[in-house]
Amino acid sequence: MTDTPARDVDAMIAEAVGRVAPDADLTSVGDDDLLTEQLDLDSMDMLGVLEGLQQLSGLTIPERDAPKLATLAGARAYLIARFA
């Protein structure tokens, strides 16, 4: 698999979040902040974000991995590791 630069992963995350919360401002979110807290997402929103990431990345994200994607840094690391 071709390597996926971090910025592509970032764009993917931004797109997935934007689908669920068009008004969300990712620039206000620190790498280690919980997305749910910083963006005021509930569990239904967060599920939507993960579904979006699944669609955009083409990966299957099992539910047991969901906690690994709770922060920007976590989501980034997870996606890059899965693409590697």
Binding site: G18, R19, V20, A21, P22, D23, A24, D25, S28, V29, L34, T36, E37, Q38, L39, D40, D42, S43, M44, D45, L47, G48, L50, E51, Q54, T60, I61, P62, E63, R64, A66
Partner: protein, 444 residues
């Protein structure tokens, strides 16, 4: 020739604007098909036709605001005239067609959406921001609340506007609004619609349209006052130990992809719908003229959904008692997505037979609200309030342990049932949620 009229999509709706026609003259349409996108004060709503036929002409052009009841289009028969199609003057409490129950959350047709929501336009008006000069950063160039706020802040000194997180902004925006007030919304408005309320005579029509928040407030106030005036409520509540249910759900979800995951919220609604189907006194409507309960064959569950812009609406999952757990999750997801995207359909806003208000998701770290005592939405005969799922000290098999617990409250109409009936209903709910295998058995 049937007339397709501007539907009433809420009791406070007096007029609507055609944003899009999805059909052209000559097109064949089917009952339930979405033919137009209508903007109301509250949301953009996809509107269905209630007859089969062929579009003869479109009377009202795109961009035109017209009062409720105005003929928007004519639908020709193209076939021998059947038992005259009812004019769609109001959203009819039709039995929603099966497929409408569990739609896939569909991708937003961004190209055809307006570039800003009514709520954002309202904010822009308040802040005196011209939307022409705002660059949309949302999906498909949609102008978001943050864009408008940025544009409003720009001409002034930047220090005046400390950078705040969207969450903080939203909390601030919600500040004046207690959470409990809203669950009612469309269900409430549907209730209002059923009782022809005289136009508010004492209110002189102001030149600018009244702010939507005010009219929603008033609509909620009127319905809640009517509810408390007319319905002798009694209240019961029960803590339900969710240890087994959540363990069962976790195991069920573990190897599924996130797309097939079922959230605890769906499990709770599933159980409520099943319990209500077993206890018909908690479901249906009250006919004041006949002074009698009108039971319903199915459970049309009105569910409060939070709007990201603030406020809540309560769209309906039709025949929720007939859905499997997975189907209910899909229906709930679709409802939530459509609500959040401002793309509710007329069929989402049919009257419910039972309303559930959930204060479900507590913020991480916060314990969450334990109990929630709902006010019945007339003409319904009961309402369910679900607290947050919280860790509590619970006596279980003679030992004290810490287990996840949800408090389920019931408000019911004493004209229809007694506390004993309500207690049986809650016991059934408890049984379902403490025996999850039986609850999910239909699916697997």
């Amino acid at each position: 020739m049937a007339e397709f009229r501007m539907p009433s999509l809420g009791a406070d709706m007096e007029e609507g604007t055609i944003l899009e026609w999805r059909v052209q003259p000559g097109d064949t349409v089917h009952r339930g098909q979405i033919v137009a996108l209508v903007e109301t004060e509250k949301a953009d709503i996809e509107v269905e036709v209630f007859t089969d036929g062929v579009v003869a002409d479109l009377v009202v052009p795109v961009g035109t605001k017209v009062p409720v009841g105005t003929v928007l289009a004519h639908i020709g028969d193209g076939a021998p005239a059947p038992a005259a199609a009812p004019p769609a003057a109001a959203p009819e409490p039709k039995p929603a067609p099966e497929p409408a129950v569990a739609p896939e959350p569909e991708p937003e047709p961004s190209a055809s959406r307006p570039v800003s929501s009514p709520l954002v336009r309202h904010l822009a008006e308040e802040l005196h921001v011209s939307l022409d000069r705002v660059t949309g950063t949302g999906k498909g160039g949609r102008i978001t609340r943050a864009d408008v706020e940025r544009a409003a802040a720009h001409p002034t000194r930047p220090e005046r506007r400390p950078k705040v997180s969207p969450r903080a902004r939203r909390l601030a925006a919600r500040g004046g609004e207690p959470v409990v007030e809203a669950p009612v919304d469309p269900a409430v408005e549907a209730a209002l619609a059923l009782t022809p309320t005289p136009a508010p005579t004492g209110v002189p029509a102001p030149v600018p349209a009244p702010a939507p928040r005010v009219s929603r407030r008033q609509a909620v106030g009127r319905v809640m006052a009517r509810s408390k005036r007319e319905i002798p409520h009694y209240y019961l509540s029960i803590p339900i130990d969710l240890h087994d249910a959540l363990a069962w759900l976790d195991a069920r979800n573990a190897d599924r992809s996130v797309a097939d995951q079922v959230l605890p919220a769906a499990l709770l609604l599933h159980a409520v719908a099943r319990a209500a189907a077993q206890h018909p006194l908690m479901n249906g409507t009250f006919d004041a003229a006949a002074d009698a309960h009108v039971p319903s064959d199915h459970v049309d569950l009105a569910v409060a959904v939070a709007l990201r812009e603030g406020g809540l609406v309560a769209p309906v999952i039709a025949q929720a008692d007939t859905l499997s757990l997975d189907e209910l999750m899909t229906a709930l997801k679709g409802l939530v997505m459509r609500t959040r995207r401002n793309a509710l359909r007329g069929s989402d806003l049919v009257p419910g037979t039972l309303t559930v208000t959930s204060l479900g998701d507590a913020s991480p770290g916060a314990a969450g609200v334990a109990q929630m005592f709902p006010v019945i939405t007339p003409p319904q005969v009961a309402a369910i309030g679900l607290g947050a799922i919280r860790e509590e000290a619970v006596a279980h098999e003679g030992l004290l342990g810490v287990r996840p617990v949800v408090w389920c409250s019931l408000a019911a109409d004493h004209r229809v049932s007694d506390g004993r009936d309500g207690a049986r209903f809650l016991a059934a709910l408890d049984h379902l949620l403490t025996h999850p295998d039986a609850l999910g058995a239909h699916d697997d």
